[in-house]
Amino acid sequence: MSGTITKQSFNQALESKSIDVNAAASDSRLQGVNVKSADLNSDGQISGTAETSKLFKEIDRFDRNGDANSVAASVKGRSTPVAPKLDAVGELANVDALRALANTGSPGNDKVLLVGMNKGSSHEAQSLRNRGVQVTHVKDARTDDTIRAGGRTYDLTKAEGVDGFVKTLGLPEQQSAKIADVISSAEPDAKDELAQISQVWAKGEKGGQVPSRLVLSGHSVGDGIWGDHNGEVTRQDIADLATAMPKAAKQVEDLHISGCYSGGERDVDDWRGIFPNAKTVWAYSGSAPGSYSGATTHLARWDRATRGADSDLDRRAAAGTRKGDNVVTWNINEGYNNGQVGRALSDVRSDYNRSAPVYQEYFSGDRNVSNTQSGPLREHYNDIQRLLQHRDLPEGERGQVQDQRDKTIRLIYYSKNVAPNFQTHHQDAINRGYQSLGMTPPDFSKLTREEALGQISQFEQRVQASGQAPADAQTLLPLLTGGLRDLNSSIIPATWI
């Protein structure tokens, strides 16, 4: 999909729609856009071609494509400053097409968050800075498990210290409590690192940008990283923090795990589950080079390969370097590569067939996903991805497998994201559709999948039984059956996951 929209298309998309001026003015994504100036008749709404044209002109001030009659939401795969503004307008006006356009590009940047559990990580961070990379370095606190924020030092070994610290993040109470839980549950001498990560990620939770590239540096035997005379940050810690701070986690595109034995295929799959928008992963099948014995060389190669929005990171980037043979990579196009001969298609297909039955169990609502990052359905998703990425998969099968992949990821996130977003997005249509048949509209965000399927079935039967169903019911039915039930990507957009 092209990342550019013309003024004419913009106006057409907003035809018969209206945007509340106050809501738009208070939306952080529209900061700097003089929304009120587009309300030409001062009725508190932006509607009609004249007003949407004025709004377009305001947004165009952030565009650099040199054409006053079009704006680019993405350039060379990267989102532009225009993208969040189109996203906001699309959301406020309930126009999916604008939101989809806004999300064509990657919102990423080339900044790096380097979490270093060993002292040598300072050397690694500096080596990246010497290459012109903006690095935020998370490291062991001078006093174990303390953190400074707002001029105060918080003792993270005490509940009041953790509570006091999370308040400084400026996030909603419920979210702050989840972050506090993660920090409190962490191993001694790892709470400070997790707290520092949360400080960086808090910006992302408030609509801002966080580093798109993440380096986890330390000793490893497969799960997490630890440092000498320091604590251990487990993969579960990072997963829990990512769950508590999903907007930030979604901004991570490139992951580099600078730790021995960190790159097993299952481990890489698990990391990808934690960072759903990851496009590349760099890790190690065996021992990794130390901070002063090759890690900085590898970081330099990785830096060069992962700048921009490209996602073709290959392990050959480490060719000829110390421990280069131990590098494994994963990228969104070619999948996992550890330099070994790939598994036969028949083996990969066997895995897929073996795990396939679980899909129906979750689809029917017999089972529910308790953890979006692990479990049988996530493992089946990983099997689908491996099948899809196998070079020998016949082209004729690819479409069907892609469809299965898209449905499965929506099923994984059904309760957490899909149903709540569906409810919010189609609230009016749900109310009108149910009420037109004299039925009480359910709240799909609060129902289990099984309950939702029951409701949808009842609604469908009522529509079919009524012969000539009211227009509102006919409008709602395909949204429920094609969207919420069948999880079609045309109705459940990727932005909801």
Partner: protein
Amino acid sequence: MDLAAKSTFSRFILPSALIALLACESQTKDQKSQPNQPASKPAAEAEKLRASSSTTTKSSAAVPPTKTSTLASACEAGFDEALRVIESQDFKVRTFSCLRAIATACPPLSDAVKRAALSATSQRRGPRSKTLYEAVKNRLPLNCRTDTPEQGTKTMGTQCYKDRHDLSPRLISDMDAGTFGFFLVVEEELKTKGLYGPKARRVLLNLLLTTAMDGEKRKKRAKQKQR
């Protein structure tokens, strides 16, 4: 005792000859009520010593600590002391320090485990693997047994470790069967006895990593010889 000056990438480096002495001394230091006790004591007597010590309990506890929690605290303190040495060393020599820690830092561990760990600290790789394996083989599940503990873990069969998703498969395959089997038993024993804390875990992680790295090196050398 001479200590090297702090450098940017290590707290301190100790001459290896002093490491064993320090480990023992550290252990002795920890038994504050009985400063002259030797590092290893029969478990029952060690219990008595710790029961009389007032140093390892948290001051806020209104209820007297249970025997298990006292023992657990003591093991964690012992392993913590050992880790100050272990984690100051190059990975090449950590195997010996980790085994010494298992031998001396946690008296409630079974005598067989402690004896084997202590013997193994003065053995080269092959005999070390056999010593460690012999001490624990009867406690290993049937699918973890092997006739050649000095060989890789493949000789144990994948069923032994197929569910160890917390460990890299390659790490397991780089280890020798004897040390891996020893790790499995020690880990299980620590957990069963309520002694598996972060420091105990860390000693075992260091043992796993240093053993695997050594195994990786050996494999690489063997491959180069074949060419």
